[in-house]
């Protein structure tokens, strides 16, 4: 992908802007460089996927953009504002299940709404429980739910505070393949209804090409932006179409994976 296109995308209304992000972890006397000179622009309402070999630093980059980690150097700005920490306007959906097991489904969805009046809290809780299809489970506790339901619950908890951005860190990684397919459809349906800016980390190339407007391919550690691929297929996507396979195989080839099992 020519760099002019990245610049062109940045010219659009840019929601998030990462500039020259470097991250080095120190372990004892050794220092390990994880991210190297990452530049990234994400447009408002865009669905962006970060892919790369496992352990390359995708999750680290996501944590930096969400404000949980400070980069060794470089800046991230969101709406022209430099980020200094996590913020309820941008909710992180965790790779491990982040729902609170001591709260019911209702309690979890309402967790971030403590500053709102009670009536508004109740309205939003009911709305988002319905949106993710957990009606009838309002008073269930997370240990009583399946993996897919827990993940939907976490998405509902994130959406309930009406954030403008969602960071998802391999949210479907622990689910079985059928549930994963269903969840992708659900996420696209919700994204279509709510139009949040989404940054989604995955190591599953198919998942990225099915979901994203653009796929950012990171190289092996230390991660650099290897390429940015525009997925110019309208939703719902036909995953056996020639264009889909062409884009997918292009990314697979870049990562250096022969497409043979």
């Amino acid at each position: 992908m020519p760099s002019s296109e990245i610049v062109a995308n940045a010219m659009l209304e840019s929601k998030l802007r990462a500039r020259q992000i470097n991250m080095t972890f120190k372990s004892g006397s050794e220092s390990i460089s994880v991210l190297e000179n990452i530049d990234l622009d994400v447009a408002t309402g865009e669905f962006l996927c970060l892919v790369g070999p496992s352990g390359c630093g995708k999750s680290t980059l996501l944590s930096i953009m969400a404000g949980f980690l400070s980069p060794t150097s470089g800046t991230v700005t969101i709406d022209q504002e430099k980020i200094t920490g996590p913020d309820p306007r941008r909710i992180f959906v965790f790779q491990e299940r982040g729902v609170f097991p001591w709260l019911t489904v209702e309690g979890n969805v309402g967790f971030g709404l403590f500053k709102l009046p009670k009536a508004e809290q109740d309205r939003r809780v009911a709305h988002y429980i319905k949106l993710v299809g957990l009606e009838g489970f309002e008073n269930a506790y997370p240990p009583e739910l399946s993996g897919g339901m827990k993940q939907r619950l976490e998405v509902a908890r994130a959406l309930a505070v009406n954030p403008d951005m969602l960071f998802l860190d391999e949210p479907f990684g622990a689910l079985d393949s059928i549930t994963r397919l269903i969840m992708r459809g659900e996420l696209l349906r919700i994204w279509d209804a709510e139009r949040k800016t989404i940054i989604f980390v995955t190591h599953d190339i198919d998942e990225a090409v099915q979901l994203a407007d653009r796929v950012v391919v990171l190289s092996d550690r230390p991660a650099k932006v290897q390429s940015v691929v525009n997925i110019d297929i309208a939703h719902p996507r036909d995953i056996s179409s020639a264009r889909y396979l062409e884009l997918r195989d292009g990314i697979l080839a870049q990562i250096g994976l022969a497409h043979r099992v």
């Binding site: 920490g85 967790f111 506790y141």
Partner: protein, 252 residues
Amino acid sequence: MKLFVQLQPLIFIAALLAAWQISISLHPGSLLPGPWAVVGGFTDLLQHGVLLKYVVASLFRVTWGFTLAAALAIPAGFVIGWYARAEMALNPLIQILRPISPLAWIPIAILWFGVGDLASIFLIFIGCFLPLVLTAIDAVQSVPAVYVNAGRNFGLSFAELVYRVLYPAAMPQLIVGLRITLGVAWLVVVAAEMIAVNSGLGFLIVDARNAGNRYDLVVAGMVMIGVIGLLLDIGMRSLEKVRSLRWSYSEE
């Protein structure tokens, strides 16, 4: 058949009691009273109105000592566990104090508080405080980072984070610690009452021996201590069945 299985422990106890009674009647004059004599001891205590009075006195001391220890130890443990530097500073002190039996504090307790309720409450407090601090440190340190990060993400202040995330996340572990510590408190109160006060079940046992070798009353007191200890444990165990507490990190 099912009824028989449920009754098995009771049948076993009844058989033991019968064997005890028979062996006492075969060797009269032995130093241990038989079960029937112990029943007589119970009746004696009830008629004089001291049994209930002593049980209440012991429970009163345990309640105060245990509650004070929990109220101070859990926040202290949270702070120490949360701030790595506090733990580094205080851990050696805790490790030195911890192996000292609460009973070793008896002379100091009497020196500070005289003979009375305060001294035994202090001893129970000493027996519960450090184990609970250690439980709370461990509980707060094993709260998964994902819960803390999620709490911060939703814009909680530090106080809200403690109240809405750390405390509930640590609760299952705290309850196990509280249950064990309540057992310790019940052990300590009996010992404390033998020395530092003149009421309570521990006092009953010492007093029955000193005032005329009434071993039937001694054993009655021991049985009472066992029964109440068991009831306290059952009470704490029932907390573990509360729905919002019935989870553990292991199943995640």
